[in-house]
Amino acid sequence: MSNRPAAVSLTSVGVAVPTLRLQAAQVSAAWGGSSHKGAVALCDSDEDTLTLAWQAATDAISASGVSTDQVSGLWWGTTRPPFAEGPSHAFLAASLGLDASSQGALFAGSPHAGMEALLGAWDALASGHATIAVVVASDALVPGIGTAGETTTGAGAAALVLEAVGGDAAGPAAPARLVSRATRYAPVVDRYRADAADSTGDVYDGRLFREEVYLPLMTEAARAIGSTPAVWAVSDPDGKLGGALAKRVGGRLSSAEVQAALGDTGAAAALLGLVQACAQGDVSSGETVGVVGYGGGRASAVVVELSDLVPGASRISAKLKAGQQVTYTTALRARGQLEPMADPIQMGLPPGGAAFVRGNTEMLRFEGARCTACGTISTPPSVHPACTGCGETKLETVRLSRIGTVVTFVVNQTMPPPFQAPLPLVVVDLDDGARVMVQGSPADAESLAVDDTVSLSLRRYALERGIPVYGYKASRVAAKPASPATRSGGSADDTKGAGR
């Protein structure tokens, strides 16, 4: 078996980090015992592995210059998809706006899934079955309460756009290429989650795992790739194993900065390390990066050769610095491990029901119905057989802009569980002329203002009867312009503006 299939080019990358940060000392304070250092990233209650994957892949596609209808498929790796069994891949593909005929696969079951997605996409490209692949690795694992995993388990996502290297060797130079790979396995139980459990447990014994599982497998895979990269991007379940591995194989560890900011990002860890290497790498020397991921008794290594700046990579630095520090109590609520005893109010429409079968695509793709007569966009299309502007019935479905201006808003403070106050609800005039009302970010509750610029991102609106329900939410990206009447007219009767 060759460890050098046809090389593929790395066109662009994207990164996503969740909103919250928890200092390990907060966990130590709650449980007593020795004090832990560092911090981990975790999802707010409306984020999960799919929303992180969406953000990373959206950014990578945007940085690539490729249009979504050119993408052959989505290769997604995540230890635990939002549906243990179910339409996870279809939901993500729809929210990315990929064509209904696009291909790809979902890899899951262990943090090795991120590497499997990368290798799977590579296979599809090398075989000629695909020409442009979106690879995304994401994780937002929930550690067991009171386990060591609480101070190490982070969350994040990395996405790559890969393209087949054409037969023409003198074609446009790719900023980076994937050139070789290797995989090793051992049938051992490490970190795992049993069928009925809500959260992931720790490895049986840290020393046993390090000496007999992680270091031997990772070292073997790293040495099997046939080159000696100067930089390594590795997955590291506890924050100390990566350093031990680097000593054995020799070289710098680009994943360490990511680990320090976010904790162990599981399936995303090795690829986030690769993005960090792309952002920092010395491209003039043709630097190579060894990407080595681990999970579930498997280790895979991939060599990436850098020859130019990789579009999208430089954004990682700001993302690693972002994040809202929270208390342990807030973290438990965000993870769904601390819930009020009152029964949550059920959604009026069951998320497995007909209204969702009719409406899921338009919600995930974020669509409106544009009137061919007057141009008004009515949203959502499924409840608007007639134009809200002129009443005509010839409408075409369009994807909506995700940037716009606040027309008006409220902050709802009074709702029963499962809602959490404060909850901004924002009416937004999108840049394409459509007007929508969506939820806003609680972080903006104190400071949001009319005429602010907001950006819309995929979030989890509800976890209803075990089913995640996704939609777009607005968060502020810029305060209102200093001079009045630049974005919205501000006329006394505030009619919908130009572009309609």
Partner: protein, 392 residues
């Protein structure tokens, strides 16, 4: 010329409040008795040949399926024709309008319009607040009742400089009026300071900017103008009415400083009644939130657009003001049992036009009173009824 084909010959209501001791049927019976007792020359219940019942959310007391057609039985009228009207917050006022049309058509001779709503048989969380999880799973998620109006307050403040004090002045005035109304849920004065110190329910609206959850029932008896004097020497005539709709989602609003359905409904009612806003002596309008009354008095034409806040603060809508609004205490103090609300407002108009409103009686110049509701998802429907004591 007003329409004046139909007259109100009796009207009444029960004291509004948290009526834990009365069921839906008992409330209906109380309101029916009050309306019958309000018929000056007396009326036998056998005279009633149709009942129009307004109940908006039977789900609030767990009886969605039967609210309406059980009412005649509870009133001793079993066998009579009966139809339930559900048209959001204007359910009561629309039931009245439909009752008037039923009489005017000649199909029915004497029609009882009765609004009944049980708001407090379910807990707040399972009742009114549960709508946060109803409707579209994304575009309506988190949309409790104040969310339907608070965005208008935000924008009205932004465009016209309307202040929290101006909003609060509406609550202060309506609580004052409620003190004078023995049927009101709340009969206590509040100050601007108290309103501004109450907690946010849905900013910029605070607790005292919001109407309470109230049980209640109200009834009115309609007959033809020709027959009215068989029952009373002081009939009040239906001068005109209008109903109008708007798009159901908030994001489909083309304005956040006006409720277009109110404008349309009132323009139709004014035209039918042959009057304009300056001819109205007193108005009972939909003040589910303080901002709603400010929007109403602008959209109904009582004050210029954008001036509703200052007009309220200056007392133009007080009992002795230029245009008295909500002498009964309004939804803010009297309460808002949804199906009953419109009928109770019409009862207040009936009393005001007959100069029977006691300490809260306003002075009449032209003899016209206006009643208004607006509601539904995205304020998608409004009804306006205009009553007059003038026989022609």
């Amino acid at each position: 010329m007003s329409w004046n084909k139909v007259a109100v010959v009796g009207a009444g209501l029960i004291k509004f409040g948290e009526l834990f001791d009365q069921g839906y049927e008992q409330m209906a019976s109380g309101a029916f008795g009050a309306a019958m007792a309000g018929v000056d020359k007396g009326i036998d219940r056998s005279a009633i040949d149709a009942v129009i019942v307004a109940t908006q959310r039977g789900s609030l007391w767990g009886q969605e399926g039967i609210g309406g057609n059980t009412v005649p039985s509870a009133l001793g009228l079993s066998g009579v024709a009966c139809t339930r009207v559900e048209n959001a917050c204007p359910s009561g006022s629309d039931a009245f309008r439909i009752g008037a049309m039923a009489v005017a058509s000649g199909v029915h001779d004497v029609v009882l319009v009765i609004g009944v709503e049980k708001m407090r048989d379910k807990s707040t969380a399972e009742g009114l607040l549960a709508r946060a999880a109803a409707g579209h799973p994304v575009y309506n998620r988190g949309e409790t009742a104040p969310v339907l109006f608070a965005p208008f307050a935000t924008r009205h403040m932004h465009e016209f400089g309307t202040t929290p004090e101006m909003l609060a002045s509406v609550a202060v005035k309506n609580h004052h009026n409620g003190c004078l109304d023995e049927y009101a849920h709340f009969r206590n004065e509040v100050t601007i300071e108290q309103v501004l110190a109450s907690p946010f329910v849905c900013s910029p609206l605070r607790l005292l900017d919001c109407c309470p959850q109230t049980d209640g029932a109200a009834a009115a008896i309609l007959t033809s103008a020709d027959r009215a004097r068989d029952f009373t020497d002081k009939p009040v005539y239906v001068a005109g009415f209008g109903v109008a709709t708007d798009h159901p989602y908030l994001h489909e609003k083309t304005t956040f400083v006006s409720l277009p359905a109110t404008k349309l409904a009132s323009s139709r009612a004014y035209e039918m009644a042959g009057v304009g806003p300056n001819d109205i002596d007193v108005a009972e309008v939909h003040d589910c939130f303080t901002i709603t009354e400010i929007l109403d008095i602008e959209d109904l034409g009582f004050v210029e657009k954008g001036k509703g806040g200052p007009a309220s603060l200056e007392g133009q809508t007080a009992l002795d003001g230029r245009i008295p609004v909500n002498p009964s205490g309004g939804l803010l103090a009297k309460g808002h049992p949804i199906g009953a609300t419109g009928v109770a407002q019409l009862t207040e108009c009936f009393w005001q036009l007959r100069e029977e409103a006691g300490d809260r009686q306003v002075s009449l110049r032209n003899g016209f009173a206006l009643q208004h509701n607006v509601g539904g998802r995205g304020s998608g429907v409004s009804v306006v009824n205009i009553l007059t004591r003038n026989s022609a």
